[in-house]
Symmetry: C2
Subunit: 428 residues, 2 copies
């Protein structure tokens, strides 16, 4: 039997308090995104393999759930949602006024070794900004993130890097794109010596530049660019643009009171990033709880025109883990709860109970009708689940169109007319 009750490795049921927390987090994320002008998008969970193979990066493609459908087409469970959102943008939203601001919450799948905070099926809450130049798009993303993390009371900080700076220098050394990806992949894994050695293929100066970039302060980058003026001359404009954008962006965030720091070796795993990139951290987890950045021109990979784009994905499972480590229980605004207890479960009682229930709900009260058990059992159920009131209905109440209502905190019980019930509750 126990075997039948298992879920596949790396997946799990979310139940009880954890499920309520999950709902609270995803609802809060959506509300924050919405009040900042973002619109929802829902894309399929299964996509053609090709969509992700094109540009998600070697790491992700290796760990995808891939299968053939009955017509022989190769499908995949999505490992992330950005590729799908870009596809949907090109298909259905390209003529909408820019910027296009989208949010999503969805499960993703990666066939990796499960670890603490890492599942094979995991949940991402994400934002995408399409068609907006400069740092404003990134600022939108941070503004929503900051509001979200503050609302759920999770202390956090951001680290910021810029993969575009690495790419401009590597372009100058004529390092091909796939080789650049490999070097960035090594830096992402913090295998710095391996990355530097790999770059040696393109000369000692290339290795030296990579080595410097890995630890260079943001304030010194412009000077470094000047030191290699001759080498990077074809890329100087974009290089200086990326450096200045990053400095300006960090200034803005600090001015707005965000806890943010520059990390020169931050490059992130996904091959499609082009400029500013970032991760969200907490003190209690090694792994980041969110990450993203600019991925300008991902549209061209699918045959569309170039487009500025940026976005973030927050790992909901990791946020839940961080909250539990910190013993934070960000609670849904609590509603008053009333249990309606029937001393008999025949037809007339059920009908009366659901009329009472409906009356209470119009006053914003959560209700639960209980029947078919002894009063003492039903009262202990109501206490266990922290109901504020027990509304008791026996034959007297039913015949006289009244209810007995007991305040479970004070123990005070009253016998009142049905139409007075909301008035009664308001007065307490």
């Amino acid at each position: 039997m126990d075997d039948l009750l298992r879920t596949p490795r790396g997946t799990r049921d979310i139940v009880g308090d954890e499920a309520e927390l999950f709902e609270y987090l995803t609802t809060t994320f959506k509300e924050v995104a919405k009040r900042n002008g973002f619109k929802p998008i829902i894309t399929p969970t299964i996509e053609f393999f090709e969509l992700f193979a094109r540009k998600s990066g070697v790491e992700i493609v290796k760990s995808m759930y891939v299968f053939k459908d009955k017509a022989g087409r190769t499908l995949a469970l999505r490992p992330e949602l950005t590729a799908s959102v870009i596809r949907a943008y090109l298909k259905s939203l390209r003529n909408e006024p820019k910027p296009i601001l989208l949010y999503y919450v969805g499960q993703c799948f990666r066939y990796e070794e499960p670890q603490r905070g890492r599942y094979r099926e995991f949940w991402q809450a994400g934002l995408e900004v399409i068609g907006e130049k400069g740092v404003h798009g990134d600022l939108r993303v941070f503004n929503v993130m900051e509001q979200f993390f503050n609302e759920i009371k999770l202390k956090h900080y951001y680290i910021i890097g810029n993969v575009g700076i690495y790419r401009m220098f590597m372009n100058a050394f004529n390092i091909p794109g796939n080789e650049q990806d490999q070097i960035l992949h090594l830096i992402d894994k913090e295998m710095f010596n391996e990355a530097i050695n790999y770059a040696k293929k393109y000369g000692d100066e290339a290795a030296e530049v990579i080595s410097k970039l890995i630890s260079m302060n943001i304030e010194d980058l412009e000077n470094m660019a000047m030191d290699y003026k001759e080498l990077v001359k074809n890329y100087m404009d974009r290089l200086l643009g990326e450096i200045r954008d990053t400095i300006e962006f960090i200034d803005i965030l600090k001015e707005l009171g965000y806890d943010v720091r520059y990390k020169p070796s931050l490059v992130r795993g996904l091959a499609y990033y082009t400029g500013i990139i970032y991760e969200v951290k907490t003190s209690v987890l090694d792994i980041s709880i969110g990450g993203g950045g600019r991925y300008d021109n991902l549209t061209t990979v699918y045959g569309g025109p170039p487009e500025y784009s940026t976005g973030v994905a927050i790992g909901i499972d990791r946020v839940m883990l961080a909250l539990s480590e910190l013993n934070i229980k960000p609670l849904d605004k609590d509603r008053v709860k009333a249990a309606i207890l029937l001393l008999n479960d025949s037809k007339e009682y059920l009908i009366y109970a659901y009329k009472v229930s409906s009356l209470l709900q119009t006053a914003g009260i959560t209700t639960l009708v209980l029947s078919g058990r002894k009063l003492s059992k039903m009262l202990s159920y109501a206490n266990r689940f922290k109901f504020k009131y027990a509304v008791i209905i026996g034959s007297k109440e039913l015949n006289e169109n009244k209810v007995s209502i007991k305040d479970l905190d004070t123990g005070v019980q009253e016998y009142i007319k049905l139409e007075k019930i909301n008035e009664f509750i308001k007065n307490i």
Copy 2:
């Protein structure tokens, strides 16, 4: 390129107004379920094939997305959620006080020919009641459904049947379980003659009984049971119990004002139903927009103890289709929206804008900051997306710590101090 933009057959992107409607419907469903005491549950999208093969019925097993993972285990994309919820109940919730009330919203997958309102990836919003005897559990389900459909303003009605009545009679004729499933399957497809012929294998009287059940009024069923008193004697108690429960249940629903009718030939496709079953209909679609019923003892299929259970699944895609056919746009309570328009997108303007944005949001206003375009362009964007206010920030506003605020309905523009902005908006 176009090829790259396709989604797999039977799947789709939900974007724009449709996505906002989707969010509104699923949020409303969750809220209604919650205020009636139901708790969320989130189960994996991928499960072991065996979970569904055990009891979902031949029809569903045939149309499942099945694949092997890299370790050779046979997995499936869930075709429905009830089996997963029951598994999760047995694994993690069996010691909780009964009744256990659960709600979910999730995508399901069936490899069938796509038709109007039928997708291969589709969304179900569902309720499950575990551990409650009698019609109260079914009433809970209807109470939430009725509130949900009323809140989204979708005119609807319910049809009710009872598959337990069929099963008691067929038991009396010693028809084996899988043969019963086959007969019910034919009735479900409205192939009544085929069903009656199939029953002939078990004698003319069996065929006659099936034929009668297909069209017998609920009021006459008790008499019919009496006519076959000798035959059904071992099943009489349960048979009369099912008949009386169904009559009582329909009475209760009518008394509460629900539009409900009994349909003798309603049996539904899933093999696990045991008693009262139902579907939700609208005038504009042939297919039902929801369905469910009692599935007592499904727990035993997974080795658990017997448990009373009942539940429903509502097809969100079909609800969306019905609403669009009826041209109903149940709108989210509209929030006031303000666009903040920057005449310059340098650092100081962005910082000031997001401070203004934050101020407006504390007053419950949805904001969107626009920059990097001509004022006329930004104003037309604000008009197109029905913003109520444009808050304009140029150098004068920035330097004097003020804003120009324009009511886009009336055209009235004022120049006010930043700290007066919420007061100003409240007064209009």
